[in-house]
Symmetry: C2
Subunit: 344 residues, 2 copies
């Protein structure tokens, strides 16, 4: 399935963990997250995406600095408004799907706004609802008509997810989303069968089912992650947010019969192995029950490099009287080499 | 000049010092400021105002709580978007008038936004630009397309104000605005003739000149206020923000040959005499070189009452052995009477 502009193909730009505002006080890297967000939006425009799907942590801080919120607002207004027509239909009840929002409507169906690329996002653990009114940064963007914030849960005891239903030509998409919940709590809710994914009543087999989730995928402790086998097996594709390593290539889970794609973060927020993997976003194309994810490399991201140094494998002699200085010189040389590589 | 829908009459809702978020943590009064802002917007809709003019301090805090920012965004989207046509023309260069903004455009001239009631606002001392990027809350609203933020100064040494030029039928309006500047500094700039109001080159006499300012009007010390005589005498009307007492009735300044109207705050933020005056907003109508301000009482504002108690004028006897208790009882009675009056 090459990229095509068929009237039956959903084209979706998939990204997650953009962490707007990460390192915003850093003199050199302060604008990195905004710059890469702009690159993502440019890609959506260039590929004529039907919409953008974000997997949470659009913001790095629960209360983003004003400059960062302003930058985000400006970019969304610049790239997501315009005359490009919306080529898919919305089939479910938006007033129910967005009932947690002050404006329970899709931004692009508001006749007062001329939206060209709708953004759909769940919240992450960094930008989750809090405080009076249980609001998050995405609520501000949603109410301003700049994006569509979905997957907000209100109950602590029972989670029922209704999919956003969309159709483009003959392709039917059921989009499930669940904003970040504390892992242990969600784990318990799953164990007690208190998480339900509702399905369309008719022609269940015709829908392509996508689920966007923002949780630990890696097993940290027994209950501080969500095992893939907890998820319903009628799903076709799970977009996994929160984990920062880019593993966009869909991985087949044979016990669940679904694929998992993990876009990873678009900005490196920690000096970890996972962040050294080249950053990409995905162009997800869906036609009927088939899909394909094309990796789009992000060119604005500062590449991280990491190298393990095992001194026993070097020619350095531990009995050397000057060993301290020599190890220092050896490491310093390594660091310089990495810096040179990064500078290229 | 009764309220009319003549094609030559500008109808402008004038308000100031709305202080969104004042007392927002108070269990009883927490929503007062938002409720009254809604009343103001409702009035603009009801009177079919051409636009709303705000004199600064829309927000009480420089960094408003998320709930308050969200409430403001929601109200602006609810009331200021829609199909009502804009009946006046913009004549000056918006890219120059709003050059301090990320989007140097009027929201209602953006073809992607369907604005029914434009809001024009300067900033006050509570919501002035600060921090990285020198941004304020109004920048967020402007960039989101929810209002038009003008009167932002960038130079500390020289202020040059160009008016926003608008025309409705035969009426020509030149609107000058200056966001809050520290009084002492602005005072000094005026003294050194470093504040200039630029005027349209042609037909200068045809314009109705309004100036919106947010400074101390009352003389606190020699330089901590702006004397009215500092202002250019070609002005026809000065809308004075910052001062909380409602003195909407235009006051004639005979040395300057202009009127001053002081809308006052729409929420009482201090237990002072000025705040006990009944709160109003204004409906400013301008036709040619004539204008009229109609007072619109705000019905949602909690009325403050104040009473001076002069014990020597009462029948209380200072030599009475029980005088302490009696004074307490007397005051308590007074307070109860005021509370009863307020409860009505």
């Amino acid at each position: 399935m090459p990229e095509e502009s068929s009237e039956d193909v959903f084209k979706i730009i998939v990204a997650t963990d953009i962490h707007l505002g990460y390192g915003e006080k850093d003199v050199i890297r302060g604008n990195d997250s905004l710059v890469t967000f702009e690159e993502i939006l440019e890609n959506a425009k260039k590929h004529e995406a039907d919409f953008i799907l974000l997997g949470g942590d659009l913001f790095h801080e629960n209360k983003p600095p004003r400059r960062i919120m302003h930058g985000c607002i400006s970019l969304l207004r610049k790239f997501c408004f315009g005359d490009k027509p919306i080529l898919f239909e919305y089939l479910s009840d938006q007033s129910a799907d967005f009932k947690h929002c002050q404006f329970p409507t899709l931004n692009y169906e508001d006749t007062n706004l001329n939206v060209s690329i709708p953004v759909f996002s769940i919240h992450g653990n960094h930008d989750d609802p809090s405080g009076q009114g249980n609001l998050c940064s995405l609520d501000l963007l949603h109410s301003a008509g700049l994006m569509n914030y979905f997957g907000k849960t209100t109950s602590l005891e029972k989670i029922e997810m209704s999919p956003l239903l969309m159709q483009k030509g003959s392709t039917k998409l059921a989009l499930y989303g669940l904003g970040s919940v504390r892992d242990e709590r969600l784990h318990r809710l799953f164990v007690h069968k208190n998480v339900t994914m509702l399905r369309p009543k008719e022609n269940q087999e015709d829908w392509f089912n996508v689920f966007v989730i923002h949780q630990n995928r890696a097993k940290h402790s027994t209950t501080s992650y969500i095992p893939e086998q907890f998820l319903d097996d009628f799903l076709d594709l799970v977009i996994w947010g929160h984990e920062h390593e880019c593993r966009l290539e869909p991985e087949w889970n044979s016990s669940q019969n679904f694929f998992v794609s993990q876009p990873g973060s678009s900005v490196a927020t920690s000096l970890s192995e996972g962040e050294t993997v080249k950053k990409h976003i995905g162009l997800l194309q869906i036609k009927g029950k088939n899909f394909k994810i094309t990796k789009i490399p992000l060119t604005t991201v500062r590449q991280f490099y990491m190298e393990n140094v095992v001194l026993s494998e070097t020619e350095l002699d531990p009995n050397d009287l000057d060993i301290g200085k020599k190890v220092e010189a050896y490491c310093s040389e390594k660091v310089e080499a990495i810096l040179q590589k990064a500078g290229r």
